[in-house]
């Protein structure tokens, strides 16, 4: 059964992959899951659980603890220090085989559900009784700036930062009491989640749905229920809405075409979308390709000045089993994308060459028409009969008409041995070239392209990256390594075809007109004499150009081979398809959370990235690093 039997696009993430991402977030952005008041921010070692942060976090001076306001002391402006840590987080997509759900959540894990287990610690910085005894009454006042109390050497409490006595006389908004003993409570929290697409058609979002929540070993039960109720509110009203993922609606891909992606409607064949099954979170999407929003004009032949990509090498997979993530495109979707690329394709180029008796040049702008793409069971991709048509194809010729000499006949001959004295000769067309002309062949010439392609991935180490750089340095310097996706041509045929017979007539007429131009100043009889001497244009240009009977073959040779038009077309296509020009480059490691101010981005290494093609779909397979 194919992944895309019931949709155009299939995206799945294995629960092991999700847990790897969660692990990376915990280590690289610890301040997201370790919260505490200012005392804990300054002294993370006081937390209930030691934080296992990535070394780069401390190297870059990133905080280990996210700052939260103090816990208010009722009826006063005092607050108390506390911390909250999520120490572990695991997800387990149906069927449950990672997390053992507590009885309260009715194990085993129900179909189309995901289990979540989090280890959480709450630390309360209980002030010492001696300190509390020395604190004055401080009524609640919400309109004053927050000030922290600090005890001087003489035991007297002062406000920090330093303020004068007059300010001290005014009741502060919040005064944090330094923590004494830290009272830690660590619990396991279990939950179950489902997922749905919500929102109106065209603006749908992927949103979580809380099934249940359970705090283990908390008593009395009423307290447990109260806390679970509160946590449910936090998850339902705070966490899940924040984690909603909008589905792509419109996206212009390099100006060539636009994509419209919508969730595939549920049906008997596809009862669940999204689906939580097979240890994977799956999403099924349908694709519509529309015209791109080009900014006018085709791409120039010169192209941009971006440096060439680093050469990659094939890197094999080291793991076995299900991939951490899989994204598949059905053959129908590939065909739609092919149409999008084809219809948005436009390139221009030019070239010239001196071929001795004549010179040729061209200026062309091409677009693509017709053709089809076919995924094959042997893993190859076949592009068939793709027409390269011309918006413009100016084909210019510089003709060096052979020197023709009249006269020079023999006046005094040598019997049986040639001539002794010749009459003066009179020669025409001694210049090079004698005439120049251009033809617009765009309406009359087509090129057909067929190719067999192989999809593969390679890993390229950025050559500009130094040994001293870590992944974060490289990302910041714009020098990450890359996984590269190639569509390499196995065979590539470019044939000039469908050259209309009228091209020969056009050529003759153009030469004729050019001759009329250069003969223009001569009297009529002289024009006629020279034309008679030159003979029919068809013979003249046939001789000069070595035209032969097959103008298609001749044009194919001159345009395609001598002038390199085929190379230009191949290069243009190769920008997208050929060796040395990756179709796409995915930076490694992948950025899961972008940098936030001074906080480093959360990066997850891509351990393996592969492309699999069979006769029904094309799949991108990913293993994430630990």
């Amino acid at each position: 059964m194919a992944l895309t039997d019931h949709s155009d696009i299939y995206v799945a993430v294995h629960d092991a992959g999700i847990n790897r991402i969660a692990h990376a977030v915990f280590r690289q952005r610890p301040s997201l899951v370790n919260l505490g008041t200012v005392g804990f921010v300054r002294n993370p070692e006081r937390l209930c659980e030691k934080i296992d942060a990535h070394p780069v976090v401390t190297q870059r001076g990133n905080p280990l603890v996210g700052l939260v306001p103090g816990l208010p002391v009722a009826l006063t402006s005092y607050t108390v220090e506390y911390c909250f840590q999520v120490t572990t987080l695991q997800l387990d997509v149906h069927p449950g085989n990672i997390i053992s759900l507590p009885p309260q959540l009715n194990p085993p894990l129900a179909p189309q559900m995901m289990a979540v287990q989090a280890g959480a610690c709450f630390g309360y910085g209980c002030p010492s009784p001696d300190l509390v005894a020395k604190l004055p009454y401080l009524p609640a006042a919400s309109d004053k700036p927050a000030i922290q109390m600090r005890q001087n050497a003489d035991g007297r409490f002062v406000a920090t930062p330093q303020v004068n006595d007059r300010q001290i006389d005014k009741p502060p908004r919040e005064v944090m009491i330094p923590a004494g003993e830290l009272l830690c409570t660590c619990l396991d929290i279990f939950g179950t989640l489902g997922f749905d697409f919500i929102g109106p058609l065209g603006h749908q979002r992927l949103a979580g749905r809380l099934g249940g929540i359970e705090i283990v070993d908390l008593a009395p039960t009423s307290l447990e229920d109260s806390i679970e109720c509160y946590l449910s509110l936090v998850v339902k009203l705070g966490v899940l809405p924040k984690l909603q993922i909008p589905i792509i609606q419109f996206s212009t891909v390099t100006g060539l075409f636009s994509l419209e992606v919508e969730p595939t409607p549920n049906s008997a064949a596809l009862p669940f979308n999204p689906a939580l099954e097979d240890d994977q979170f799956k999403v099924f999407l349908d694709l519509a390709v529309g015209p791109g929003q080009t900014s006018g004009g085709g791409g120039g032949s010169g192209g941009g000045s971006s440096p060439p990509p680093d050469p990659g090498v094939v890197r094999g997979r080291t793991r076995t089993g299900i991939f951490d993530a899989t994204a598949a495109l059905s053959e129908k979707a590939v065909q739609e994308l092919f149409i999008g690329v084809r219809d948005g394709f436009s390139k221009s180029g030019s070239g010239s060459k001196d071929l001795g008796p004549f010179s040729v040049s061209y200026a062309a702008e091409v677009h693509l028409e017709n053709g089809s793409i076919d995924l094959r069971s042997d893993g190859s991709i076949a592009i068939k009969e793709l027409d390269v048509a011309f918006n413009t194809l100016e084909f210019c010729l510089g003709l060096d008409i052979p020197k023709i000499c009249i006269g020079g006949f023999c006046i005094i001959g040598i019997p049986f041995d040639g001539c002794l004295v010749h009459a003066p000769s009179f020669c025409l067309f001694e210049d090079d070239p004698d005439i120049e002309l251009c033809l617009d062949l765009a309406p009359f010439v087509r090129i057909e392209l067929s190719a067999t392609l192989e999809a593969l991935t390679k890993y390229a180490v950025n050559s500009a990256r130094t040994a001293a750089m870590n992944d974060w340095d490289a990302i910041e310097a714009g020098l990450p390594n890359h996984w590269q996706i190639y569509i390499d041509p196995i065979t590539l045929d470019v044939d000039l075809f469908d050259v209309a017979d009228i091209v020969r007539n056009l050529l003759e007429d153009a030469v004729d007109a050019a001759l009329d131009t250069i003969l223009g100043p001569l009297p009529g009889w002289a024009k006629d004499l020279i034309k008679a001497i030159l003979g029919p244009v068809i013979d003249l240009i046939g001789d000069i150009l070595d035209l032969g009977d097959d103008i298609e073959e001749w044009l194919s040779d001159k345009l395609g081979v001598s002038l390199g038009l085929f190379n230009f077309i191949l290069t243009a296509v190769a920008d997208h398809l050929a060796k040395g020009h990756p179709l796409a480059q995915i930076p490694d490691p992948l950025t899961i959370l972008p940098a936030d101010g001074t906080l480093i981005p959360v990066l997850v290494p891509i351990e393996f990235l592969g492309l699999h093609v069979d006769d029904v779909e094309m799949a991108l397979e990913v293993d994430l690093g630990g």
Binding site: I401, I406, G407, F409, C410, I411, I412, L420, V421, H422, A423, P424, F426, L428, F429, E430, D431, D434, N505, E508, D509, V511, D512, L515, D516, I518, P521, L522, P523, G524, W525, A526, K527, D528, L529, I530, K531, A532, I533, L534, G535, P536, V537, I538, D539, L540
Partner: protein, 292 residues
């Protein structure tokens, strides 16, 4: 950019054996050894330039005839062609002035030798021509051992064995005249026809010039076809256009050279038709240019 055609030569309609230029040339044969002075004169009177031609037996013959060397052959200064074991049997001399050649007509200078001193074997030929408009009268005098002078050749009065060759391009009717004997003939250059094959002029026509006149006295040739006047009696030959032939005119002239290769149409059950309507092939390659 060099013009693709020399219009002055193409449109030349007047030819004079006394002043050979353009497509015209006069040929003279040197039968005797000796030193010859070639005098160039624009008007037949004032000499503006003199050149020298040495004529001698072929070297092998000269060695065999060492003892029989004619007394009046003087190769002084010493033979100027030591590097040439064999002198040519024919030379071609540009009879325009050297100064002229070095200037405006220099573009054609490489086609014709213009030595101040030339050598020729006994019985060899010299042809004289010049770029259009640059011709001179040519008078050749044989210089004897004692400095005595004997007229050998005068382009205003060609002698027996001399020849005058011209190539005519301009269609029309020309008068052939011998100024010495007052004889006259007619020469017609027919209008060129653009055909299915490239036109190439036929072989040149030879016209004998006798005291009694030209033979043939009337002839028709194709444009670009040569005419060789073989002189049998003293003569000064002129050929001048009397009546131009402008052909069908601009209205009737074919404006296109694009003669299509049109496949003959064949009606079922009928003979082939020629859709071009051009009929039989026009005068072209190998068209006879014989006398009428």
């Amino acid at each position: 950019m060099k013009p693709f055609v020399d219009r002055a030569t193409l449109e030349q309609t007047s030819f004079d054996s006394a002043l050979p230029s353009g497509t015209a040339a006069v040929v003279h044969r040197f039968q005797r050894e000796g030193r010859y002075a070639v005098a160039l004169s624009p008007d037949g009177k004032q000499v503006v330039e003199t050149r020298t031609i040495y004529v001698e037996h072929p070297r092998a013959d000269a060695a065999a005839a060492e003892g029989a060397k004619p007394r009046d052959i003087v190769l002084e200064p010493p033979r100027p062609f030591p590097e040439h074991p064999q002198l040519p049997q024919a030379i071609e001399l540009d009879v325009s002035r050297s100064a002229t050649l070095a200037g405006a007509a220099a573009a054609d200078a490489d086609q014709i030798a213009t030595p101040q001193v030339a050598g020729l074997v006994t019985g060899g030929y010299a042809s004289f021509t010049a770029p259009t408009g640059g011709a001179h009268h040519v008078v050749i005098t044989r210089i004897g051992a004692d400095g005595e002078q004997e007229k050998e050749f005068d382009s205003t009065r060609l002698g027996a064995t001399d020849a005058f060759a011209i190539t005519l391009f301009r269609p029309g009717t020309y008068a052939m005249r011998n100024a010495v004997g007052g004889r006259e003939g007619r020469l017609v250059v027919h209008y060129p026809q653009i055909g299915r094959t490239a036109y190439r002029p036929a072989e040149p026509v030879t016209v004998a010039v006798h005291e009694r006149g030209f033979e043939p006295g009337e002839l028709t040739i194709g444009p670009g076809q040569g005419v060789i006047f073989q002189v049998a009696a003293e003569s000064r030959i002129t050929v001048e256009l009397l009546e131009p032939d402008d052909g069908p005119g601009d209205a009737g002239r074919k404006t296109s050279l694009a003669t299509r290769r049109v496949r003959p149409l064949v009606r079922p059950g009928s003979e082939r038709l020629d859709p071009s309507g051009e009929g039989s092939p026009t005068a072209g390659d190998g068209e006879p240019g014989g006398s009428t």
